[in-house]
Symmetry: C2
Subunit: 280 residues, 2 copies
């Protein structure tokens, strides 16, 4: 099988590494609108060949659309226009509903599988691609009933080969859940970085003191705007709703502290500690 | 040398492991007001003997006060009452100004070194103690001029033996800086955990989707209230000030998103990305 990867970044590149090693496919084609990404991906062996977008679509059995969601929205319908009935297109975007809606009435809708592998790092580009990025993570397939069962089966087997847990859900549910477990984490990390960097303007040495806790909480603030602005925009309503809940929790901490209410602070922290049930 | 550790938790226990291995001291005594902690610390070999507080003070050359800052505030003056002029007391608390002020006029003030090793994990108790917790981290000594130079030298050599970078600063500056690089990270992590746990009441499977980003950002939410309520209370003014700045940054994200201002979102994220300079 030949896989054509559109978008040779962290996700597309990391998938190529494991799918090649696990022999899920034997040929990997790639294209990227940034020449340096395409040349690097070929140079470090993520893909066998880079080629123009139209040629890649013609030559691939499975087309992996691994671009920011704003680009995916522009491209998906065009890709479906160009494929034949034996080809399958799968995307990896972190928001699903609007992308899915954009091709709902496309005559080749059934050749598309709406999908999101819940894995990543704060880095981007082909040089950030690593092995085993997906192992043990959730591989989500949305609105599977709108896809050809054989296309869904192909994507399911791809996620199996990456050792992912396949989960089926509605695109709308997916977008609510990712707002909670992924998108909000990025906003709070960006905001933390901005807060501390503002302070650093006057206090050059503040980072000498940074401990592991800060590094952990601010890690996601390295994530790039090309990927995240479109995600926030596409999932605006859900993200704003979670952000309101989150700011309300911060306000509860603030009120308790202002009122010297130690018992209230303890209740808040005890409640938060229940996260231990879930995060090991 | 004999070290007496008051408070056999993560920090006291982890220090004991490395200070023993590096032969900084040859005898380790311990006490803890929780019997299970004391028994465990002896059973797993963190300390050689556990004994009552008064006896430990009598028998120790260096007394390591490794308790929550609220307990340290109650105990420090009493410990200084009980020691002789050849003994040194050092604490490890995450807030320094009020604790330092509490013994400013104590006749044995110079036997005390106000200190904070900037290291930790989200876990607590003697069973959480690990080797190499402190290597490469900042070991802060505050208001060193109020301590006997020999006492400061002893603590400096202790941090050297733990491979820490020793930094001297005023207690008041320390408390501002830790509000930025440590305390706020804990509040935002607690608030994130509360936000997501609230949602989970209705959506049992939300955590199936949690990726590494969420785990990283919510990690500190496992931290215990016994340690953190006193820190927030002791550093209330600084923490509230940082919390205000932080909530203002979140509000900027919220406004940009509500107004569909993609270029403003990009500027915010680009600015936050400058954290790459500091966090590798």
């Amino acid at each position: 099988m030949t896989i054509g990867i559109i978008g040779l970044g962290l996700i597309g590149g990391s998938m190529a590494i494991d799918l090649r090693r696990n022999k899920f496919a034997d040929k990997f084609l790639g294209c990227d609108n940034i020449d340096l990404n395409a040349m690097t991906a070929q140079r470090i062996g993520l893909v066998d060949e880079v080629m123009p977008y139209e040629e890649l679509i013609k030559k691939s059995d499975l087309i992996l659309l691994a671009v920011p969601v704003s680009a995916a929205l522009r491209m998906l319908s065009d890709i479906l226009d160009k494929i034949n009935d034996n080809q399958v297109v799968v995307d990896i975007c972190s928001t699903k509903e609007k992308l899915n809606d954009s091709v709902h009435y496309h005559p080749r809708r059934k050749n598309y599988v709406a999908s999101h592998p819940m894995a990543g790092t704060e880095f981007s580009g082909p040089w950030a691609a690593i092995p085993n990025l997906f192992a043990g993570r959730a591989g989500i397939i949305c609105n599977a009933e709108d896809s050809d069962p054989k296309a869904v089966e192909l994507v399911r087997s791809m996620y199996d080969s990456l050792n992912m847990r396949v989960i089926y859900m509605r695109a709308a549910h997916h977008d609510v859940h990712t707002a909670y477990v992924s998108h909000i984490s990025h906003i709070i990390s960006f905001a933390l970085a901005l807060t501390v960097l503002d302070k650093e303007k006057n206090e050059k040495n503040i980072f000498d003191l940074a401990s592991g806790g800060f590094a952990s909480t601010a890690r996601l603030a390295k994530s790039n705007p090309e990927m995240w602005v479109p995600i926030f925009m596409q999932n605006k309503e859900n993200v704003l709703s979670v952000l309101d809940s989150y700011m309300d929790k911060l306000q509860q901490f603030k009120n308790a502290l202002e009122e010297n209410d130690e018992s209230r602070l303890k209740v808040l922290i005890d409640d938060a500690n229940r996260i231990k049930r879930i995060l090991r």
